[in-house]
């Protein structure tokens, strides 16, 4: 996993339909830092995360991923450095948690220790049970495990704590802390305090 020094966002503008979600947004996230995105529903938290991941083109502004190799501004290239946790958990009902993680590890070309990762999110016992039988919280744990398997420097998380129980939250925070401890970047959209030391960015409801 290549390290990233910082993520530099300059004058980012996002327009959905005919609504301006945010305009000329500038901020910077350093390696080893957690940024929590806050704001009411519809403020554009998910859209900002999608723009950062390169999934959604911005209407204006730049996102630069700065590392020892220079600044990377291309959206597709940025996507290759990002691990994504969205609203939906990408858990195929026909596949088992182990199969899902094996698939993503091979797709991303990483050699993660699947069993260790499954144990770290508390899914070791049901690793071979089809995901269709998993609860919402268990699927969220699987999604968290996927972040670890991706071995990417920047984690973009949309509501990472939703539907998790107390044990699940603790494990999620352990994962986040572990990631930033080694210089990773975590940007998480949340409704509730993340529970780790973090910078905050509040998106207001667009005018």
């Amino acid at each position: 996993m290549t390290t990233v020094q910082y993520l530099d966002i300059q004058k980012l503008t996002c327009i959905r339909g005919q609504r301006v979600l945010f305009r000329d947004l500038s901020f910077r996230v350093d390696g080893g830092q957690v940024l929590s995105l806050e704001g009411p529903n519809g403020a554009g938290k998910t859209s900002l995360l999608r723009v950062l991941a390169g999934l959604l083109p911005a209407a204006g502004g730049t996102v630069a991923l700065v590392s020892g190799r220079g600044a990377e501004t291309d959206a597709d290239e940025r996507g290759r450095r990002v691990a994504w946790l969205g609203h939906n958990d990408a858990a195929k009902p026909q596949l088992t948690p182990r199969e899902v993680l094996m698939f993503f590890a091979r797709l991303y070309g990483t050699r993660a220790d699947i069993d260790a990762v499954l144990a770290s999110v508390g899914l070791a016992k049901i690793a071979n049970l089809a995901c269709g039988y998993l609860s919402a919280g268990q699927k969220k744990r699987l999604a968290l495990a996927r972040l670890k398997v991706a071995e990417r420097p920047v984690w973009l998380l949309d509501e990472p704590l939703s539907s998790l129980d107390a044990d699940g939250r603790k494990r999620a925070l352990d994962l986040v802390n572990g990631h930033v401890m080694f210089g990773g970047i975590v940007i998480a959209a949340t409704h509730e305090p993340l529970g780790v030391a973090s910078e905050r960015l509040t998106l207001g409801a667009a005018a």
Binding site: L55, R80, W84, A90, K92, F103, R106, L107, Y108
Partner: protein, 219 residues
């Protein structure tokens, strides 16, 4: 990386409740229904066999196509796949290949049996099988574009055939036409035309489908 996606899609299609077996059963069921509708005049059945089997094969393939991207789009897998080292064009090409391997190929392999049941002579059965082997990749490829365009639409499965069927007319015409010409003892360029159509469709569609995936992910 390509292999991971290919094997996962094949595994999803062939696991219990997957689309591969359903498409095959649909194909056989439609083919069975036709003699029940038109009667058992073997001469007549022989004349309509190629057309019926080609139309049934196209419909069976389309049946499983609507979920090609939609399933991954709805459960969030497509976002994660889009951020993989593979380009969206490659992702589309791999998914088309997986669809053909789990739908087009089995349909082709089943077709000689149905051809015989419709009273086709051996040479015509051979041409039918060859035409399906040549043409079904075009069905998967064209259909994938429609599937990518409609993946964010809740009832995309209803719109998909309307988008794709007219575009597949050349495949049905040349595919069934090749068999018809063989029955009449004519030599025709139908198989060559079909092959040309399939090659162009297969080469172009990953780009069109990739572009359609990209715009739907931005949605």
């Amino acid at each position: 990386m390509i292999g991971a996606l290919l094997f996962r899609d094949i595994r999803l299609a062939t696991r219990a409740g997957g689309s591969a077996a359903l498409a095959l059963a649909f194909f056989a069921a439609v083919a069975t229904l036709v003699p029940l509708g038109v009667g058992v005049d073997l001469k007549l059945l022989m004349r309509v066999a190629a057309g019926v089997l080609w139309v049934a094969a196209v419909l069976a393939a389309l049946l499983s196509l609507d979920r090609l991207f939609q399933a991954d789009f709805e459960d969030g897998s497509l976002d994660v796949i889009a951020l993989s080292p593979l380009s969206l064009e490659t992702v589309a090409a791999v998914k088309i290949a997986a669809h053909w391997l789990t739908t087009g190929l089995p349909l082709t392999l089943l077709s000689p049996l149905l051809g015989v049941m419709f009273g086709l002579p051996p040479e015509a059965v051979g041409v039918l099988t060859l035409s399906l082997a040549t043409g079904t990749p075009a069905v998967s490829a064209m259909g994938a574009i429609g599937a990518a365009l409609t993946m964010s639409i809740r009832r995309g499965g209803l719109i998909l055939p309307l988008l794709v069927l007219p575009l597949l007319a050349p495949a049905v015409i040349f595919g069934a036409g090749a068999v018809q010409a063989a029955l009449d003892g004519l030599s025709s360029g139908a198989l060559l035309f079909l092959a040309a159509f399939a090659v162009v469709a297969t080469l172009l569609s990953p780009f069109a489908a990739g572009a359609a995936v990209r715009l739907n992910l931005a949605g």
